[in-house]
Symmetry: C2
Subunit: 456 residues, 2 copies
Amino acid sequence: MNLAPTFYPRNVAVIGASRTKGKIGHNVVENLLNGGFKGRIYPINPKADEILGLKAYRNIRDVPEDVDLAVIVIPAPLVPSAMEDCAAANVKGVVIISAGFSEIGEEGRKLEDEVVRIARRNGIRVIGPNCQGLINLSANLIAWFGPVPKKKGSVAFITQSGAYGGALISLTNRLGMSFFNVVVSIGNKCDVDEVDLIEFLAKDENIRVIALYIEGLRNGRKFMEVAKKASLLKPIVILKAGRSPEGARAVLSHTGTLAGRDEIFDAAFKQCGALRVYTTEELLDSSLALASKQYAYGDKIVIITNAGGPGAIAADTCRDHNIKLLRLSSKTISELRKLLPPQCAVENPIDVTGDPRPERFEIALRTVLKNEDPSGILLIVIGPLRGGEEVARIIIKYREIYKKPMVVCWLAKEFAGEGPSMVEEAGIPVYDTPERAVFAMASLIRYGMYLRRERG
Amino acid sequence: MNLAPTFYPRNVAVIGASRTKGKIGHNVVENLLNGGFKGRIYPINPKADEILGLKAYRNIRDVPEDVDLAVIVIPAPLVPSAMEDCAAANVKGVVIISAGFSEIGEEGRKLEDEVVRIARRNGIRVIGPNCQGLINLSANLIAWFGPVPKKKGSVAFITQSGAYGGALISLTNRLGMSFFNVVVSIGNKCDVDEVDLIEFLAKDENIRVIALYIEGLRNGRKFMEVAKKASLLKPIVILKAGRSPEGARAVLSHTGTLAGRDEIFDAAFKQCGALRVYTTEELLDSSLALASKQYAYGDKIVIITNAGGPGAIAADTCRDHNIKLLRLSSKTISELRKLLPPQCAVENPIDVTGDPRPERFEIALRTVLKNEDPSGILLIVIGPLRGGEEVARIIIKYREIYKKPMVVCWLAKEFAGEGPSMVEEAGIPVYDTPERAVFAMASLIRYGMYLRRERG
């Protein structure tokens, strides 16, 4: 059964739409409207004629056309009957936000089983229940409550914790990032699980990276099979909770998941080419980097900086992540020596020194790229007091000519005018600290080298 | 020789003050003025009568009173003669921003030696040369070029990379943090070095944490002696570059420093109670936490969350940092079970579940603190859609009653109104992700347990 009508529906009904601000059933209709969804939106509410300017219907059966997607936000005991109504309206996918199912015990488990039976019988795909919803910015679809992405990126995020999904949306908004495209809160995953979603999203051309927060896997073998194929198409980044005894206990009480032996997950992820990360920061940094589609097919990079201390910190961090600093040829070194002022460092890291003229970055990039074959370039730029945009133009120019993966750590951005955003808009990821930029580069290398090994 | 006149001068002269916007000699005078320095500011410039509304003098000797602090921004070859002028004006401290000294080779080394000779002969303390300057917000003193802290905190930062200092000021500004109080860029440290500064700042009551970025130490024995005493008064946090062969090479070409064997630094830092950190994020998170002066004298904490996923992530991260989750007594568990709804998790982590009434946080805090003796409490709050301020009031109330160290990870802050800033203003550090909050708690534990061991 296909997930396309769920992710790209022609129209959406909200069962349990509400006129009361602050209620989830109101927030979802509001988010659908604000998200600019192009198809018809049908609020379903037995007691309202109109919600947020939209004609409301008493039952989804009353809607004058077939409905593709229904979002359900009514109390759990009412959901099975709503599922029957959905079937009658020819619904293809439902997102059940309502809680009160298997997560609360036996009684809820029965309700959930009933939902699944009705869904299977009628060919309806179910996301949830007990979830925060579904976002697909490529379809202007925000069937979701809580924080909503302000900018559109190309990362799909599949999360077993809806709250965590909302938290990351909020965080990337605050940092002004273009990050998410799809967010799916899988809740109790009574039907659609992470494996179905990886399979579907791997083929969605709007998605460049599939990131996951999971607490466990129901079907390891199927996951391996699907993830292995998908990770040849696009990178998969995974944060898995429950890797410690304490975390495993928390996971069990959160979603009833048996976290499983961590070393088995570790080996499995490696085998199928998924990049495992261990922190929220790594999840964000890695996904942002990989969304640039710049994969590094080797592990030897060059660092070019105008700040010595951050350059040294980056060099240390490269070692932490098994990135090597390319040894520059004597030709390159002597050319740099000739072209740069004497206080500059001409071995890798190349330090063009503080508040320099932008052309020093050009000298360093041109000389390195003309003579050497690095797997990637890490640039560290501080300020500068003048010429931030010029530095950006230089970076963009040499990326276009040589097509080498580049990652930028831009410090004291407020002095650099439009420079940092010019670089970002050119598809080169920008980070706030040397450490995070190095981790980003490490992700480009991990995935690039995986591809190289697999494709031979 | 005392550093007090340098950090708390009655008046300041800027030798090389400039009328031209964009020049360092202009930026420094501007920063002094904008910083609200209470004493007289004397721009020194042989060709100007007035700079930024201040009467300018041809030479510091012409200033009609003794000068405490002189900031020097003229070309290196002119600095020795300016030092003689400073001596004649009874200057007690100079900050030499100018570059072109020992960092450029033999010729510069000679100039630097001359500067030191004049300083020693006349009892002048020298910060720099080749540095970004000195900030002391307690004295409204911004003798510094580049980014300036927007809010006042209580961290002193001593940095061997001026650019890195500027980068961190910029970053903390962008995140709206109250962080720095003092920033000293030590440059070539021809006279004042990190040891002098630790000794001085340990006694400065406005400073709660001394953080350092260093590439090497000139006098390890003296450092140990001073740091050991200082770290009984307040925590010292150190990021040391050059810990890898690549980093060591970068450090050598940056400041001519021999990075030294890393395991020796490691042992030395441990012995004198300094907390070593390995990334910029750790430096910030650790310092912010310790600036709250909440030290945890044991390693068993309780996590209270309203989001299951982030709670599980926090539990995993605790294990990474050797933090234990306190095992709750059966009394506590049965009380929580009785008072909280059935979907809540009542073992540590305690999960009061999504979008709860604020009083659930109160139930959890009261029950735990009344029955148990945790070393600290980690709170994870997402949103909530309503009642953010109420949650904040509850957290603050229980901190006041029980005086236990608390750290908060507040997710999706934009829904929480003034809640997060209320908590911050009450002196409880707030973080954006569970991982960073756990690292913060780990710092409170590391330092608290060090104090406990040392004080017996």
